[in-house]
């Protein structure tokens, strides 16, 4: 069986016409993982029994005319911080290696309700803290385009699995770029929905005011299909938005052929950023030319507080993380390092269970919240977050969407970035979006002629404007 087009929308057609069964599709994914994942390392685990059982059930439903949706039977890879009932949910540190989730996250429950099959557990930076997947305690994930390079992070396993065609699509989570950056590094599409679009119930919390689950796919049509399934208010997440959702796939399929009447903002600070490599700059400039050729009007806009975004992010995200990760103390979940008394148990369990980057962030978060420093760091960062949000509001008055780089460079090599601060600074184009709460998408736009590595561009839109975002990205994608 040849499956060259592995997109959700194509597979749905094949399933519908009876050219393919869910069991055949599941076996194909399992075979691809067996053949290729040894060298890529995207998956931490795949429960083949779960997958086969779910696929057989899907075929039975379809045969009885009771398919849950056109997508019934399509496997979706799941990042290891998003709970799937009965499977491990470790977030990649040693501490939680043995944890098995007793329930489904809302995202996974919604996938199942549409007939999708949760497929395996995808590697990530420990607790989603990192930009290269190198902070996983379990395995190294390689970029399928060049095995000596990182896939990006933290959703590096998700991006690598989709780019290598192991699964048609995957779920990731994005706190400061963790969907968009690996998507760009691996040459796939990654959507960070508006904060509150997708329920966070069952997503292991890193920074609760920034975390958002989103789809990682081969194209914008698939991203829209998954967003239709994932989005919506959830009583189990009080921060999920009561906004109307759905119709995204329709918006994409009716996208039209040109961008006439669309105003695309080009934020000055992103184009002139220090460290933007010539190869990425060229692809982004070509993208600007392309949207103009498609009829869009481009306008220069300004996000004046961009240069503070990394500092604000690393104060707010680490402060929230230090509180969220306090629960991992060896009492209720995972491994415990035995010690004579309770406090000593906390120290030893956490000391042994967390990796270096997680420790750095817990320390930084604890420091910025500690007595005497709270006002100078945490409170001040929250105020600057307001200024960053205002930047986006002002820019939105001048344009419909913005077009920017996603990453300063192509995927780097393993161990190339050993200084933590240098690693943080590479997030410059993605993190302000999380601080603003707005939505954005990274889509492939070109290749670096020197290394052959993929390069993405990012479209950004105001909160709850995913339909506009996806439509623009779709037209761009269709003309690349």
């Amino acid at each position: 069986m040849s499956m060259t087009d592995f997109t959700i929308h194509h597979l749905a057609g094949q399933l519908d016409r009876g050219e393919l069964s869910a069991v055949e599709l599941a076996e194909e994914c399992l075979r691809r993982v067996a053949d290729r994942d040894g060298e890529i390392g995207a998956f931490l685990a795949v429960d083949a029994d779960h997958v086969r059982t779910a696929a057989a059930e899907s075929d039975a439903r379809r045969a009885a005319g009771k398919a849950r949706s056109p997508y019934d039977g399509i496997p979706i890879g799941i990042k290891d911080c998003i709970a799937t009932a009965g499977e491990r949910c470790s977030c990649a540190p040693r501490l939680l290696e043995t944890v098995v989730s007793p329930y489904d996250s809302t995202a996974v429950a919604r996938l199942r309700a549409a007939g999708f099959i949760p497929f395996g557990r995808l590697n990530m930076d420990e607790f989603a803290m990192g930009s290269s997947c190198e902070n996983s305690a379990f395995r190294k994930t390689a970029n399928p385009h060049d095995l000596s390079r990182v896939p990006g992070g933290s959703s590096g396993g998700s991006a690598a699995a989709v780019a290598a065609g192991l699964v048609p699509a995957a779920l990731g989570s994005d706190t400061g770029g963790s969907i968009r950056q690996p998507a760009a590094f691996c040459g796939i599409t990654g959507l960070k929905p508006t904060y509150g679009r997708v329920s966070r119930y069952g997503l292991v919390a890193f920074a609760s005011s920034l975390d958002q689950i989103g789809p990682m796919t081969q194209d914008t049509q698939d991203a829209a299909i998954l967003l239709d399934v994932l989005a919506g208010r959830d009583p189990l997440d009080s921060t999920s938005l009561p906004a109307a959702s759905g119709g995204f796939a329709d918006a994409v399929s009716r996208a039209g052929k040109d961008l006439k009447g669309v105003r695309i903002g080009l934020p000055r600070e992103y184009f002139g950023a220090e460290g933007l490599s010539p190869a990425v700059a060229k692809v982004v400039h070509d993208a600007v030319e392309r949207v103009r050729a498609l009829g869009a009007e481009t306008v220069e806009v300004s996000l004046p507080h961009t240069r503070y975004a990394v500092a604000v992010y690393y104060i707010i995200a680490t402060a929230e993380a230090s509180a969220n990760l306090a629960r991992f103390d060896g009492i209720r979940y995972g491994a415990r390092v035995e010690a004579p008394d309770l406090v000593e148990t906390y120290f030893k369990t956490r000391g042994a269970g967390f990796g270096d980057e997680v420790k750095r962030r817990i320390l930084l978060g604890t420091y910025v919240l500690s007595s005497g420093y709270y006002d100078a760091y945490y409170l001040r960062a929250q105020k600057v977050r307001t200024l960053i949000r205002r930047d986006f509001e002002e820019a939105a008055k001048l344009c419909d969407v913005m077009l920017t780089p996603v990453t300063p460079t192509v995927a780097f090599k393993f161990q190339e970035k050993s200084d933590p601060l240098q690693m943080y600074l590479s997030d410059i184009f993605t993190i302000a979006l999380n601080l603003s709460g707005n939505c954005g998408i990274s889509i492939p736009a070109g290749t670096d002629p020197e290394t052959g590595m993929p390069i993405g561009v990012q479209f950004l839109a105001p909160a709850l404007e995913e339909a506009r975002l996806l439509r623009t990205a779709r037209i761009f994608e269709a003309n690349r």
């Binding site: 007793p102 956490r350 000391g351 420790k359 409170l379 307001t386 200024l387 601060l421």
Partner: protein, 106 residues
């Protein structure tokens, strides 16, 4: 305003690690102290901004007091709730290490 010099000098990783209940291996202490000083030196650049009169943003979504319907549901069973605990007593309780120092008790 923050004086960067003073701030990084007063950053003691050992003290912060105690607050965070985090054991740090002695050989890692020096490196972590250096990393933290570099990061704190960088984030201290926020001090150059004037934020007088700016309201803080705690959250991207201005939602408050979200109530759920007062209806009884079916929670996870006790066995499922305890399955991930490192130590369990009589299948009913999470077993914890001794809280107060002193003679052992069982």
């Amino acid at each position: 305003m923050i004086a960067v010099e003073k701030t990084t000098q007063s950053l003691d990783v050992r003290y912060v690690a105690d607050l965070a209940r985090l054991e740090i291996a002695p050989e890692a202490l020096e490196r972590l102290q250096r990393d933290m000083e570099s990061i704190v030196g960088y984030i201290a650049e926020l001090s150059e901004l004037d934020v007088t009169g700016v309201e803080p943003t705690a959250h991207a979504v201005p939602l408050a007091n979200v109530w759920r319907e007062d209806v009884a549901g079916t929670p996870l069973g006790r066995e499922a709730m305890l399955a991930n605990a490192p130590a369990v007593l009589h299948g009913e309780f999470i077993k914890v290490p001794q809280v107060l120092p002193g003679e052992g008790m069982n």
